[in-house]
Amino acid sequence: MKSALLMIAAAGLACGQNVAVRGEVVYTMAGAPLKDGVVLVRGGKIERVGPASAVNVPAGFKTLTAKVVTPGLIDAHATLGLSGALNQPHDQDQVEKSAPMQPELRAIDAYDPQERLIEWVRGFGVTTIHTGHGPGVLISGQTMIVKTNAVTADDAMAPAAMIAATLGDGARAEQGKSPGTRSKMIAMLRAELIKAQEALKKADKKEATRDLRAEAFQKLVKGEMPLLVTVHKANDILTAIRLGKEFGLKLVLDGVAEAPEVLAQIKASGYPVILHPTMQRSYGDAESLSMETASKLSAAGIPFALQSGFEGYVPKTRVVLWEAGVAAANGLGREKALASITMEAAKLLGIAQRVGSLEAGKDGDVALYDGDPLEYTTHCTGVVIGGVTVKTEAR
């Protein structure tokens, strides 16, 4: 009997429960917000979304209600699970400084799904994070995409999402080591990418011994993995674009504090942007960041998402919901700000078929709020991931 119950419980966890989430306002992020809407989740997937008057809640569905309902939020770039809360050497795995370029380092080999900051952001409605190796060296390693209720790193939605690079002052190595200058950074990257191109041209692959680093660079030139470039100054942004075009890379521009100075060039490049946290501290290469950049990217028609980013001190992580709030208040507006942490983030990360909006067929990831989600004094009152109400202290 006991084991039968356990089996049922396990099955429920695996495929999700049947849940109906009813909201006075439902931001589906696929069309106009619904007034008095219902989201039906069956077996972990969204079955139907519509006005309460048109959607019958089948018997046996657990019903949750809230003032405002949104898709589970997506943090488009974090270091959660690698950069732990204590900020001690033993819980900081986001940067390995033994070499300036280590694209072979996998995020899944460092990700700690129990790290308490993951639970922290989940309590605000964040259900999906793009996380992994952080900024701080020329190429720090790979990133991954994972739900915030994952029990193991192997549960990741995308175990190898992007390869993380940094350009500008943040990538400078200690004195006497390379790269010591911006030019050297690019020379080093070009040399590796050319090597990768030439290796791919060689017909006889059977003879080659495996080289994890070379394989990672080859994935970049083959376009199998995007290069996520953290870069802030206008000249460095243009350098990143130049590099991307030379090698036909899939590039994602990250940070881009000085984007307003080179909007036309970013737009022409076709590269998407994961913008720095709206409240990031303005110093160093990011001295000229502005709370209005999100609204300028939006006006220019450049696809972008918001992020919690990397923090080296207090607070150890930002909350992407709050970053969106300040962007909304500085010209972006509520719905576009919500899109930058839901649907736009999903599209940018290539996971829009599963998450980012409340539409039939997508994962049953839903966030519940007792008011405008972006408002300081609103609370997140519930979080559902894959149809399962996540045990979390709502905040």
């Binding site: 809360a85 308490r116 001295e287 209005e292 001190y313 909350v319 709050w322 300081y376």
Partner: protein
């Protein structure tokens, strides 16, 4: 050179203008902090002071007053930040763990962009502190963010002629280093006690001299400052995070009878009753997530609510650059999110901090006779969508979001990090008005 002369002349014009005509803010929702919110209020300021505040129906606008239509806006007192590092302040060096002789006064850059950004955040009074890497890193400065070009323009002179400020102290892990710095918590407390006992003895010698200059002990800058602390003339502004460290501060304050305000207080929710019993005020930091350092691993958004319930006087601070002065109101809003009352949270941005800085007679609320320090907000102070539109210090507008240069400071962008001249456009308008 010519530029500097022009600026000086404008300052003079500004000062004169400020004294000639009263200014009346009308139509705003007024949050005076001293009483209930007034839906349609009038605030009259003259010669840098508040001369009247109340409902429109009962508060006449004086004839000849410059009227500022603030309908649809919110007026509240200028914010008081009880712990900040704007203006690139320096304090003690690495030569000793306790250096009360060192002054922020001798290091401040009032033209720093951080100072101008604090005005953009609605901050009108600020306690600028040296760092927390020492048991005592020196004397802090309480400043009014007047549109001055030199540190002297921003100082607050006390009735006895001294310059207003506190003494920064810290415990926990930040001051831990190799000798002569403490290596343990117990050593830290012993070093502090040793200095305060010396100061008690120094004070005894002064008392024994009975005013006879020939019998006075040789001047000792460190001892003089600690004597001010022992005499209650200078409040200890004490960095402390962990619950046991908080209690150590209270223990030392009781032993030596000094006035203390507890700063940061990450574990405050664990020892709220003890803080309340000691009647120690708290200057709280609100940050976005726990951790970032070992001592802050249990920091909680609900600390403000817990301390309020225990009856503790709670103010907030930016600790700028740890949090951004321009987003200071966010601290109160997040505390309310976690259960603090709106009333006490707004009090914590203003009057509580005024009391923590012993300036409650001059700033912190909109009351007749107080300094005309106020902000105009586009909406409710606790809403993410509200912006500080204008900041006024002693009747002079020091920030105007409608001015492109001020807007740049408020939101950031190319050039916003540049330290430079203070914007005094309002004064220019005023001087034209006079002509």
């Amino acid at each position: 050179m010519k530029n500097r002369a022009t600026v000086f002349a404008l300052c003079c014009a500004c000062g004169l203008w400020g004294q000639t005509r009263p200014t009346a803010f009308t139509g705003a929702r007024m949050i005076s902090i001293a009483g209930p919110e007034i839906p349609d209020g009038v605030l009259v300021v003259e010669k840098g002071k508040i001369v009247a505040v109340g409902p429109a129906a009962t508060t006449p606008v004086p004839a000849g007053a410059v009227k500022i239509d603030a309908r649809g806006k919110v007026v509240m007192p200028g914010l008081v930040d009880s712990h900040s590092h704007i203006g690139q302040p320096e304090g003690a060096d690495g030569s000793a763990p306790i250096q009360p002789d060192v002054r922020v006064l001798d290091s401040m850059n009032v033209r720093a962009s951080t100072v101008q950004k604090a005005r953009a955040g609605g901050i009108t009074t600020v306690n600028v502190m040296p760092g927390s890497g020492h048991l005592s890193s020196g004397q802090t400065l309480y400043l009014k963010l007047r549109p001055g070009q030199t540190i002297d323009d921003l100082l607050i002179k006390l009735d006895d002629g001294r310059i207003a400020g506190g003494l920064k102290m810290a415990n926990g892990t930040n001051p831990r280093r190799n000798a002569p710095f403490p290596g343990t918590r117990a050593k830290a407390a012993a070093l502090v006690r040793e200095q305060f006992i010396k100061a008690q003895e120094y004070r005894e010698k002064i008392r024994a001299a009975g005013g006879d200059a020939s019998k006075m002990p040789p001047r000792d800058l460190r001892m003089e400052e600690l004597v001010e602390v022992l005499d209650g003339k200078r409040t200890v502004q004490h960095h402390t995070h962990r619950h046991d460290d908080i209690l150590t501060v209270l223990r030392l304050a009781k032993e030596f009878g000094f006035k203390v305000a507890l700063h940061h207080v990450s574990d405050g929710w664990m020892v709220a009753e003890q803080i309340a019993a000691a009647k120690a005020p708290v200057s709280l930091i609100v940050i976005d997530s726990p951790g970032g350092k070992m001592e802050a691993q249990d920091v909680a958004l609900r600390t403000g609510a817990v301390l309020e319930k225990a009856g503790v006087l709670v103010g907030f601070h930016t600790d700028d650059g740890v949090t951004d002065s321009r987003l200071f109101l966010r601290s109160a809003a997040l505390a309310v999110r976690a259960g603090m009352s709106r009333e006490k949270a707004l009090y914590g941005m203003t009057m509580a901090n005024a009391r923590i800085l012993d300036l409650e007679q001059r700033v912190g609320s909109l009351e007749k006779g107080k300094d005309a320090d106020l902000i105009l907000l586009s909406g409710d102070p606790l809403s993410v969508y509200s912006h500080v539109l204008e900041t006024w210090v002693e009747g002079v507008k020091v920030f105007d979001r409608a001015d492109p240069k001020d807007h740049l400071l408020a939101v950031g962008g190319y050039g916003a990090g540049k330290d430079g001249d203070i914007h005094i456009d309002e004064c220019m308008k005023g001087s034209e008005d006079e002509r």
